[in-house]
């Protein structure tokens, strides 16, 4: 009879611990979880995976029309050099360029002014702590639609009804700044 039992893996490491460790959360592979379950982290993982998936899908489905990418890239670089590093007044005067820049600045100022004034009154109508719920929802939806239409389309729509010129430009631009500012103002009124 062998009084000295051979030391085996089983005898050193008992199958179950001698004392209870309580409930231990393990994942499917049997590893201990060291982080709490976090639904927002899970949502984030799904979202990031979805965005990457859509990107890969997009690149796979684009119609590249068999473009020579290397040549196009080289051409682009030389064009960029011409555009940004070799400015020349070949077809215009400096005064006219600066004047047009100033003109554009004035259009932007006018559009922002008008948009801001309109937005102030409309933001009162769609701030939850001032107006009633129906009014808020109606105005908010209208402004959301106005925001969703691209600026260029507003300008083109106004160009048809008001004719070409600064009126159409300012109206189209101010419509879009109005829509953005209304949302921003309403949010800062109803904090």
């Amino acid at each position: 009879m062998n009084t000295n039992p051979t030391i085996t893996a089983e005898s050193v490491r008992p199958a179950s611990p001698p004392f209870s460790l309580g409930f231990m959360d393990r994942d499917r592979g049997g590893k201990l979880r060291i982080k709490a379950k976090n639904p927002s982290e899970r949502a984030m993982k799904i979202l990031v995976a979805a965005l990457l998936g859509i990107t890969v899908l997009a690149f796979a489905t684009f119609d590249y029309k068999g473009i020579d990418f290397g040549k196009a890239l080289a051409d682009t670089l030389s064009n960029l050099r011409v555009v940004f590093l070799e400015p020349r007044l070949s077809s215009d005067t400096l005064t006219n360029v600066l004047w047009q820049l100033f003109f554009t600045f004035c259009l932007g100022t006018l559009a922002t002014f008008i948009g801001a004034i309109l937005a102030f009154f409309f933001s009162l109508l769609c701030a939850r702590n001032i107006a009633n719920a129906v009014c808020v929802n109606v105005v908010k939806s209208l402004v959301a639609v106005a925001r969703a239409v691209p600026t260029i389309l507003w300008v083109l729509i106004f160009a048809v009804s008001a004719g070409l010129g600064s009126v159409a430009a300012v109206a189209g631009l101010s419509f879009h700044s109005f829509a953005y500012l209304t949302k921003a103002y309403a949010e800062s009124i109803a904090v």
Binding site: S40, I67, T76, T109, S166
Partner: protein
């Protein structure tokens, strides 16, 4: 007595200030109107006229509905394009913004260089990028892709620099004290703690890029913009209106989805 006088003075001064600001604003408005030949009366009149025109002309009819499958496929392409642009630009912008943030910066010169480069890409309008790229890429989807890519890259770099600055200061300090290497610091500290901010920006840019791609599409004759341009120039306003409506539905859909997502992840 003297306190009362002081209070009055404050009110008078405040009123003077307000009047002055108001007059300056009116002055700027008048000057800008003069320069651009803008007539405020015409401007006000143009609003009801435009709304009336929208109500009478911008209504999809039967003929427009026949074009709906084509519009839908172009819309799909535009949505895919703007998502692909935003995600690609975001990946580049994240790595580019690391030396630009004051927390993960390498040195002051690199930080300033990154900010200047980002400002350059952001401030050259996407239309200009599209025009320049048109010469070499032609009427190709890649023209729109790169035009949107450059502006998105500039804007997101700036946004990510701010997100990283705000979010992860303590976390980086903790990781620094353990002697972490740079890349571990980025992937275990900076990225997880700034991911909600980054994703919010990405969702916002996808929405913006769909709108911008309309204008670029008009220039490069690709996507939904080209289709709108085609119908608009043919004076086929009912088909054009269907294009506008489908853009509106898409943008509103993305806006609603991203609001829901934001509620979950923040």
């Amino acid at each position: 007595m003297s306190t009362l006088k002081k209070t009055e003075n404050i009110f008078i001064r405040k009123r003077k200030n307000d009047t002055l600001i108001f007059l300056v604003l009116i002055g700027i408005f008048a000057a800008a109107s003069l320069v651009t030949g803008y007539n405020p009366a015409d401007g006000i009149r143009s609003f009801p006229a435009a709304i009336q025109w929208i109500v009478t002309n911008l209504v999809p009819d039967h003929e427009a509905m026949e074009r709906f499958p084509k519009i839908l496929s172009e819309l799909m392409e535009t949505a895919l394009l703007s998502t692909a642009v935003t995600v690609t630009a975001a990946i580049f912008a994240f790595f580019f913004s690391l030396p630009g943030s004051s927390i993960t910066k390498v040195n002051g010169i690199a930080k300033r260089t990154v900010r200047i480069i980002a400002a350059f890409f952001r401030n050259v309008p996407d239309v200009v990028w599209a025009m320049v790229l048109m010469f070499s890429f032609g009427q190709n989807i890649l023209t729109g892709f790169f035009a949107l890519f450059f502006t998105t890259f500039g804007l997101l770099t700036r946004a990510f620099i701010e997100t990283i600055d705000e979010v992860s200061a303590d976390c980086i300090e903790a990781l620094d004290s353990t002697g972490c290497p740079f890349l571990t610091k980025v992937f275990q500290g900076v990225l997880p703690s700034s991911l909600p901010g980054i994703v919010t920006w990405i969702l916002y840019m996808i929405e913006t890029n769909i709108r911008s791609s309309t204008l670029i599409g008009i220039l490069t004759a690709t996507g939904i913009g080209a289709l709108f341009d085609l119908y608009y120039k043919r004076l086929d306003f009912s088909s054009a209106s269907l294009v506008v409506l489908s853009i509106v539905v898409l943008v509103l859909g993305i806006e609603t989805t991203s609001n829901q997502i934001r509620k979950v992840i923040l």
